[in-house]
Subunit: 432 residues, 2 copies
């Protein structure tokens, strides 16, 4: 920057894996561009890793490598701690101590921010430092900054998001005809799913991200434990075919709304119409659809994971910290304004898709319809798609009108006790 | 904000029309939320208008109204000038003087920023004040902030945008079967198009916006005069039908790329495949698709105009200025890093769609094919769709392979001289 001295910002990294390595690489490659844009240069002073002798894609001076993360957090010469090890513990301890030491922190850790974000942000404010976490949700999609800054004048009423690339990759493959196990194996082969994919396929990862987005959007604390979540393991190829026939796709939808009784939040496999804004989000891509009273519908779409997009977000946060550090200020945006109750998920309402295996005999549909009717659930459509005549089993697909989740759960419980119902094979929320 | 004094920021408004009125209204309604978020309150000290007695949707204290915009710009008690009158002159003079006076400026003025943005930003830097212009492109879509801050570590290689709601409304209506005149009338009736729609339908408005986006994305000055633009007046209903038959929609596409010889930028009616990210942007909605080397494909989608979305962006800018003012700092992001040549549009390449009225006689197609061949333009497909037998006129639709714009223009010039060519009815770029 013309006429100004370039200021050096000293960084300490926790982690040099996919995202950490990608960030170090990007910082090295873009140092000149960053210096020109904001007049700072970054000096990476220490990098803590588990295994210093592991071969890496990015060249790191061996003299700055350490296996002792505390030595990074406690190093008085470091201005900013970049936490990219992930997971709740010990990452949250490192972040807390760094903030207490008056260090700025940039993190991609969705679990820590989802669970302890409010306290850590308070701590950052009290320590007069920045805590930035753009990379914690949506990889390279700058949804955190948009919610914190750009939509500041909006009352946000609804969030709909596809924020887990692994599951969206699997669901897109299933939409194209593959079965769950096959799609999962492909995701693993391509590095999109871990050997133990539970965190993704059970909806846990998406729940952390939705907790962060909801807290920012609704300006109230939303803890991941308060978010109902169901994973994608139970979805069957057949349901994608039926969905397509009715004009729907199945997505793992992270949804949060301001309802009359408080915040309604869930991560669930959901049928959405093929003309829905999120229906065309395919593969590992992510998207966040936001309804605000000023902006109306607004969507961000992009790569939600991967070394490069995530590094892009981490470096943008580092530049924001550096820009503030140069001026000796912090971003002081109060996030939580109010306490809003979180609605018990049983009290929320939706349309539902059901698929049942039943005995192929007269009167069975009447019994099922009676159970639904007794729970005040009305049927929008019913189809008997195919019958395995030799086994005497028929398959019934039901689409309901709006009903309460609790009533649906009770009706399904009762149905399962009916002698004529062999199996409730699918039970999926349906968005208009 | 707990434990901090609320700081008052004094505003002077130029204009209280649709956007100005909407901004004043939003500031009044969200004052508490803004105070909680960033610890400031806004005090609107003066509002300049053309006609003080005109009835307005928003209540403005008559004692702060003035017809003298200079009195707002020169008022020493005002911290921030909010310029919402639009147009090049006198708005650019007001902005310049406000900056020289050391006042911060927030503007929605795409024409001024497109033409004088680089100089005005330099002036702002020298005066140590902020000049923010989020509302100048894409209404409530925060694309300026995303380009300035969030994508700072990216090399952006391509922009594709639908950034004029008026034309997109008209084109969407034409896609649905209406003709141009009918669609324009409907846009005018709904307030989406002005009585004289030239600025929108001729592509001028989109050109200003693309100049701003390209300058930010490519970190080089791109002036609107350097952007080739063609409007939508010549499009015919028939072309939408042919496009649909081939799997395309027609959009007024603002496109800019980093090519091997420099920046290629244009605003042109363009056929894009129906599965393109921008194909589903309907009606007055806008979208910007960005290719960056780190984030890969990234898209922002939302309402690109209207009082509320635009006010949302203006207020977000005001909050950013206020946040800085509180800390006595400015956002100092250098935008222009380098000089990059702008490629002469004749040297750019594309596929093309042509529709010709020709004499219905043997050998005509051969003559046309020969002209194209002589200009090194190869034909990808050709269709003779219908014939008005009584008039002896046939219609030929040609899709070319990649060809240079200059060669196409020369070939079309030559075709028009052929006795057998009655009319070149359509000539549209085609994106893969």
């Amino acid at each position: 920057m013309e006429g100004e001295q370039i200021k050096t910002i000293r960084l300490g990294f926790l982690g040099a894996g996919t995202v950490g390595g990608g960030t170090l690489d990007l910082l090295a490659r873009r140092s000149e561009q960053i210096a020109r844009s904001i007049g700072v240069e970054f000096d990476v002073r220490r990098v803590s890793v588990r295994n210093p002798s592991r071969p890496r894609d990015v060249a790191i001076d061996p003299s700055i490598l350490t296996t002792d993360a505390w030595s990074v957090v406690d190093d008085p010469s470091i201005d900013v701690v970049v936490e990219l090890i992930g997971g709740e513990s010990p990452a949250s301890d490192y972040i807390e101590r760094a903030l207490r030491h008056g260090k700025h922190v940039v993190t991609a850790n969705k679990e820590v921010i989802a669970k302890y974000g409010a306290e850590l942000l308070d701590l950052a404010n009290h320590s007069n430092v920045n805590l930035f976490f753009e990379a914690s949700v949506g990889g390279g999609i700058p949804v955190i900054g948009v919610l914190r800054h750009d939509l500041i004048a909006n009352e946000i009423t609804s969030l709909r998001a596809i924020i887990n690339g692994t599951t969206n990759f699997i669901l897109t493959a299933m939409e194209q005809g593959r079965d769950y196990a096959e799609a999962l194996r492909e995701a693993q082969r391509l590095g999109y799913a871990e050997a133990d994919p539970s965190n993704d396929v059970d909806g846990v990862d998406a729940t952390y991200k939705l907790a962060i987005l909801s807290t920012l959007a609704f300006r109230t604390n939303v803890h991941p434990d308060q978010i109902e979540h169901v994973g994608i393991r139970e979805l069957r190829q057949k349901d994608f075919q039926f969905a397509a026939g009715m004009g729907y796709v199945i997505k793992l939808l992270a949804a949060a709304d301001v309802g009359p009784n408080g915040i309604e939040a869930s991560v669930r496999p959901t049928m959405i119409p093929t003309d829905h804004h999120l229906a065309n989000v395919k593969g590992v891509f992510n998207a966040v659809l936001i309804d605000g009273d000023q902006i109306d519908k607004f969507m961000l779409y992009g790569r939600g994971a991967g070394a490069r997009p995530t590094a892009s977000a981490v470096v943008a946060d580092l530049c924001a910290v550096a820009h503030n550090l140069q001026r000796n200020v912090i971003d002081r945006v109060e996030i939580v304004h109010q306490h809003r109750p979180i609605v018990d998920f049983g009290d929320t309402r939706s349309r539902y898709y059901l698929r049942l295996q039943v005995t192929d005999q007269p009167g069975v549909l009447a019994q099922i319809a009676r159970v639904l009717g007794e729970h005040e659930i009305s049927i929008a459509s019913v189809m008997q798609h195919e019958t395995d005549e030799t086994a005497g089993v028929a398959e019934i697909v039901i689409m309901t009108h709006q009903a309460a989740e609790r009533a649906m759960a009770a009706a399904l419980g009762l149905m399962r006790t009916l002698a004529v119902v062999h199996e409730v094979s699918a039970f999926i929320r349906v968005e208009r």
